[in-house]
Amino acid sequence: MIPLEFYLLLAAALFCIGIYGLVTSRNVIRVLMSIELLLNAVNINLMAFSNYLDPATATGQVFTVFVISIAAAEAAVGLAIVLAIYRNRDTVDMEEFNLLKW
C-alpha cells in the first residue's frame, strides 16, 4: 500500500507547480488555471488525509466536495472579471495590468 506521505508530497508538488504558474504566467486564463491546480492539490491532501486518518466518518471528502463546488463558482466569477477587463483593455496580459502601483 502506498504510504500517506507520497500523496502529501504529490499534493505539495502540485501546489508548488500551481504557485509557479500563478506568479509567472502572463495570460490571465493561465493564472486562473494555476489557481485550479492549487485547489486540486488541496483536494488531494484532503482526500488522502480522509482515507488514511479518518476512514470511518470521511469528513475530508465532504470538505473536498465543498472545495470543488466553490472553486467552480470562483472560476466562473474569475472568468467574468477577466472578460470585464478584456472589454476595456483589449488584452489579457498580466504585464499590462500594473496601473495600481505606488
Binding site: 504510504p3 506521505e5 504557485i19 500563478l22 506568479v23 500594473n98 496601473l99 502601483k101 505606488w102
Partner: protein, 621 residues
Amino acid sequence: MITETSWLIPVYPLIGTLLTIPWSPAFIRRTGPRPAGYVNILMTFLSFTHSVWAFFALWGKSNDQFFFVPWLNVADFNLIIPLEVSAITIGACILITGLNLLAQIYAVGYLEMDWGWGRFFAFMAFFEAGMCALVLCNSLFFAYVLLEVLTLGTYLLVGFWYNQSLVVTGARDAFLTKRVGDLILLMGVLAIYPLAHTWDFRELAVWAQTAEVDPKVMALLGIALIAGPMSKCAQFPLHLWLDEAMEGPLPSTILRNAVVVATGAWILFKLSPVLVLSPLVLAVTAAIGSITAVGGALIAVAQIDLKRVLSYLSSTYMGLVFIAVGAQQPEAALLLVLTYALAMAVLVMGAGSIILGVITQDVTQMGGLWGRRPVTGFAFLVGAFGLVALPPLGGFWSMLKLVTGLWESQQLLLVAIALTVNWIVAFGLARTFGLIFAGPVNQMTIRSPEPIWLMVVPMMITVGFTLHFPLILSTLGLLPDWAMLNKDMGVALIWSSLLGFAVGAVLFVGRRVESPEKLVPAPLQNLLAFDFYTPRLYRSSVVLGVDLLSRLTDWLDRYLVDGFVNFVGLASVFSGEALKYNNSGRLQFYALTITFCVAVISIIMSWQYLPGIFTAVFATP
C-alpha cells in the same frame, strides 16, 4: 531712631529713579524733561541729609549697629541681608550722596542742551542707590549682587548717547570687562561659603583669624576674590573699559571716576582680613596695584585727551589702593579712597568746565586759558594738589600713611613705586595744566568764558571740601599723630611731588623746550599713548579665542548636531521613497510576496521540528 532708618538712604534715590520715568520724552511730550532732574536732586538731598544726621547721631559711639533683613529661606539655606550702620559706612554714604548731589547740580548746567534728562537722572540715581546699598550691606553675597547692579548702571550710563558708534563699543567693553571680573568674584563668593559658612564680612573676619585652609585653595580663592575689584577698579589688565567709558556724559564721569571705581576698592577693603590668609594673594594684589599705578601714570602722561588723562589717573590711584591692601594696610587704603574721591571729583568737574567751553577735548589744541578761566584754573590746581602728596591737602596724609606703613613693614620696593608714581602723577598733572592754561592761545580757546553758576558752584563747593578736608580729618581724629609720623618719608613725598610739578612746569607751563614730546623716542611715546596697545592685545588674545571658539561651536551645531537630526529625517524620507517601489501594482508580485512570507513564517515556526521530520522521512525505507 535716625540710625535705625538708615536703610532708607539707598531708597530715596531709587524712588527718584522711578519718579523720572514720566518725564521721559515718550510720556510727557510737551513740557520738557527738566523736572526729572529737579526731583532727583531733591531725593539725593534727602538722602544726603539723612546720612549727615545719622552720622552725627552715630559719631562717638563705639558700638556699630547691625540690622538684619530676611531675604529668603529655602531648605536649610537662610539668606539675610545684614546692614552695618557705623561711622565708616554712613561716612561713605555722605561722600556718595554728597558727590552725587554736586554732580547732579553740575549736570543741570552741563546737560542744558540735552533732551535725555529722564534717562540720565534715573541712571545717576540708580547708581547712587546701588553704591549706598553697597557700603551699607555687610554681606559678601549682597555686595556681589550690588556690584552687578552697578555694572548694569555703568553699561546704561556709558551708553547714554547711543547714536554714537564709539559710545556703543565703549559701553559694550565696560559691561563685558566688569562682568568678567564679577563672574570670577562670584566663583570666589561661592567657594568661600563651604569654608567659612557665612558671607557676613564680620564673621568672615572672625573666621579668618583662626582658619586653617590649604594654602593652594586659599590662593585660588583669594585671587578669585580680588578679580572682581580688579575689573571694577580698572586695574591692569582689565583697565581698557575705563578709557572707553570716557565716551559717556561728563557729569556721570565725575561720579564714576570719584566713587564707582572705588566700590571695588571698598570690597577689597572689606575683604582684607580674608586676603591676609594667603601671602601669595597679597603679593599678587600688590603686584597688580604696582603695575597699574606705574603703567596708568605713564599712560596718563602720554594722553592728549583731557578726560582720558583723568581716567588713567583713576586707575593709578586705585592701583595705590591695591598696593595698600596688598601691604596689609586697609586703613591707608580707605583714607586714600576718601582723599582721592574729592580731588578727582574736582579735576573732572574742572575738565567738564573746560570741555563745555572749548568743545575740544584735545589738550594740545588748548592753551592760554589761565587769564580767562581763573576759577576753573584754580579748581584744577586744587584738584592736582589734593591728588598728589602735597601738604597740607588730603592726598599728602593718605600717601604719607601708606608710605610710612610700607616703610615700617620693610617693603622698600613698594615705597619706591609709591614715590615714583607720585612723581609721575605730579608731572602729568603739571603737563595737563600747562597745556590747558599756559602758553599761547589756540584757535579753539580764543573765546572761552567760564560756565554758568550751576557748574561753577558745585565745582567750588568740591574745591572747598578738598581744601578743608585736612581740617575735617583732624576734627574726626583720622589724621596721624604728628609725633608718630615718619618725617623722612614726608619729606621724600613732598620732594617727589615738587620735583614732578617742577619738571612739568618747566616743560609745559614755562614752555622752555620747543616740543617736549621729542625728548622721548617715538615708539615709546606711541606705546604709552596707545595704552600699551591694549585693544590690540584683547583682540588678539581673549576676543580672538572666544570668537574662534564660538564660530567653531556654531559650525558644529549647524553641521554636526543639526546634520545628524536632519539625517534621521532624510533617511526616513529616502527609505519611504525607496520602499514604495515594493508596491509594484502587479497582482502576481503580491501573490509571490504572500507565498514567500507564509513559507518563511512556516519555516520559522516549525524550525525545531525540522530535524525530526527529515530523520523520519529518510529513515523510512
